[in-house]
Amino acid sequence: MSERLADILISSFPRILGQGVMVTIPLTVISFALALVIAVLCAMIQIADIRGLKQLVRFYIWIVRGTPLLVQLYLVYFGLPDIGLMLPAFPCAVAVFALNEGAYCAETVRAAIEAVPKGQMEAGYCVGMSYTQIMRRIVLPQAFRTAFPPLSNSLISMVKDTSLAANITVMEMFMATQRVVGRTYEALALYMEVAVIYLFFCTVITKLQALGEKKLNAMNGGNVIRA
């Protein structure tokens, strides 16, 4: 490796990582937290079969899952100003990522709730609990254990998907890298550098997932995963 290239990589590293810590991570964390709220709400509405709302949720999931994330970003950031709705880039990205991931996670959460045996609900009724009490204390905790790995999957996807926000002028990690490439023309090395940082972020999440699963298993007496 030439000395020049090494210099570029080293001097760009804190800059790229900095945008990762300052933008990519907050963007991911805020969007995913909102996505989870949306997901649980949408799943509950479908499970509880609330008329009207259920159709609305199905419609939302249909639209979001049937259109590309990049198109959604463009629509909201470049399209909505045409009807007078102008959002700054970062909140706009948060909104799109949250709504997008929320639709996918809603299906994950719904499946996890449906996977809890019907007998748990019946037993809850028979000791005198109400639907809401059973959901909160019995069904959702069990469903959360089931949903945890696929939700971790979604989170990992989202870390990488935030790079799409570069298209709507959010100065996150990938865009920061593009800038350096534009200046230095060292595309291969710099894109590899940013790829390694993404890989590092995702590795941390993977480790956290393993820890979380262990903890959740202990809370269930280790009954869900068994070799």
């Binding site: 007998g119 005198g128 109400s130 905790p141 069990q142 007496g221 280790g222």
Partner: protein, 247 residues
């Protein structure tokens, strides 16, 4: 104390229960016997409104109720006086044995933590599992799980416990322990309706027998009379077929 008349239930046009009547007095142990598919489990599930009867009238603690028309609130109120033991235990898998028992005391009955704990421990003691309170269902054998389920039922001090084939999912060597617990409850005077295939047990523990076949209550009689003065050819052949299996 519990009286049901004209109970009817069908699934997809198939009549599962056809005008079933039954009476349970305080302290009764009513054994519901009969061949598989005869409607025993559906009957029990209708009694606790896990299935909604199509027709039928219930009188419970002097209160008269139209079974198909009961509101959610009325069902909840009714269930606070009953308990149910499932064939597959259905313990809350995210709760310990002790929490499984306290749940019904703490949440719907709003009992204090200390009181609920004491009562739950007493119930676990009764089923011989006081030392396994911290175990999760997955760490217990089937027989132990079913005994916890019985403790969960007893702890709410119900007027009647419904037991749906409580030993059918158990390994043969675990059945005895569960039956012993039920026998002890019967001796304490607990009112129970129990669907079972354990005819010998029914003969010794129950006070009355209801025989179900093809959705109909073919016979309802005190236990001694049912077994000793049985005239129905259908029932006799059923009992003989079980004897052969036992022997």
């Amino acid at each position: 104390m519990l009286e049901v008349t004209g109970l009817k239930k069908s699934f997809d046009g198939r009549q599962i229960l056809d005008r079933v009547d039954l009476t349970v007095d305080k302290g009764d142990v009513l054994a519901v016997l009969g061949p598989s598919g005869g409607g025993k489990t559906t009957l029990l599930r209708c009694l606790n409104y896990l299935e909604r009867a199509d027709e039928g009238h219930m009188t419970f603690r002097g209160q008269s109720m139209d079974m198909p028309g009961l509101s959610r609130k009325e069902i909840a109120a009714y269930r606070r006086h009953t308990a149910f033991v499932f064939q597959s235990y259905n313990l809350f898998s995210n709760k310990t044995a002790l929490q499984n028992v306290t749940e019904g005391l703490l949440i719907p009955r709003k009992m204090s933590k200390a009181e609920a704990r004491d009562r739950a421990m007493a119930a676990l003691e009764k089923v011989g599992l006081a030392d396994r309170g911290d175990a999760y269902p997955s760490q217990l054998s089937g027989g132990q799980q079913q005994r916890v389920a019985i403790a969960r039922a007893v702890a709410v001090q119900p007027d009647v416990i419904f037991l749906d084939e409580p030993t059918s999912a158990l390994d043969p060597e675990l059945i005895g322990g569960v039956l012993d617990v039920i026998r002890a409850l019967a001796e304490d005077g607990m009112t129970m309706v129990i669907v079972t295939h354990e005819v010998t047990f029914a003969r010794h523990v129950s006070t009355r027998v209801l025989f179900m076949d093809q959705g109909k209550a073919l016979a309802a009689a005190p236990t001694a009379a049912f077994f000793e003065e049985q005239t129905s050819e259908r029932i006799q052949s059923f009992l003989r077929s079980l004897d052969r299996k036992d022997g």
